[in-house]
Amino acid sequence: MTWEEARALHPNQWLVVEIIQSHDEESWNILDDIAVLEVCPSAQVAYHHHQRSQRQHPQRDLVAIHTSYTEGRMAITFRGVGPRRQDGDYRTGKLAISE
């Protein structure tokens, strides 16, 4: 179903939703087809169930979301490559200053 249909079916509710199909348009990810997996009594429950389901199914595109969110799309943002920690001393190399 569409996000609009999910909102109409479950007004003012926390849901765990699977995004079945989406596509990008410029800086937006448009939700084409979603499935409501769970209707939750609170944000806490929705977060908890989302986390558990996402751990069990890392490949699935899941989200805990409230139906007050009007947009059937999500802005795209980037978190680089994530922190890449490493062992050893970060103070390394020899610095020479050019004339």
Binding site: A43, L62, Y69, F78, R79, P83, R85, Y90
Partner: protein, 130 residues
């Protein structure tokens, strides 16, 4: 404000999040100009009611090496190094790095607070600090 190096990565000791008239301080926050946005681990924000529904909430499609992820974005106020920035977007969720990163100061917050990183002295100064 001192840049604390842990696991050979730059951290700040604390930032304070204000939401709905309440505040909480988060420690061990990574400075990451490779992250477009600023983020915090939800667990530390539950006490100030961050999970409550808010018409200003947005959901984002977060991209990185780990693939695609969906993340909720709240509007909060943030105090960092004596500077407070109002109505600022904060991504909340499980960061899930598996080690002690409780938040990320992203490129947006570094710009908004006019941060100056001094790597020689491992210090960062923000707009109002002299």
């Amino acid at each position: 404000m001192e840049i604390i190096v842990q696991e050979n990565l730059p951290f700040l000791s604390e930032i304070t999040i204000h939401y709905g008239g309440q505040s909480t301080t988060i420690h061990n926050v990574l400075v990451d100009c490779g992250s477009a946005g600023t983020a915090a681990e939800t667990d530390f924000l539950i006490d100030i009611g961050i999970l409550e529904d808010d018409p200003r909430d947005q959901w984002l499609s977060l991209r990185g090496i780990g693939g695609i992820e969906r993340v909720r974005q709240k509007v909060v106020d943030i105090t960092i190094g004596g500077v407070t920035i109002y109505d600022f977007p904060l991504q909340v969720g499980a960061l899930g790095y598996g080690y002690d990163i409780n938040g990320i100061v992203g490129f947006d917050l570094l710009v908004a607070t006019k941060a100056v990183m001094d790597y020689g002295n491992l210090e960062v100064t923000f707009a109002e600090e002299k």
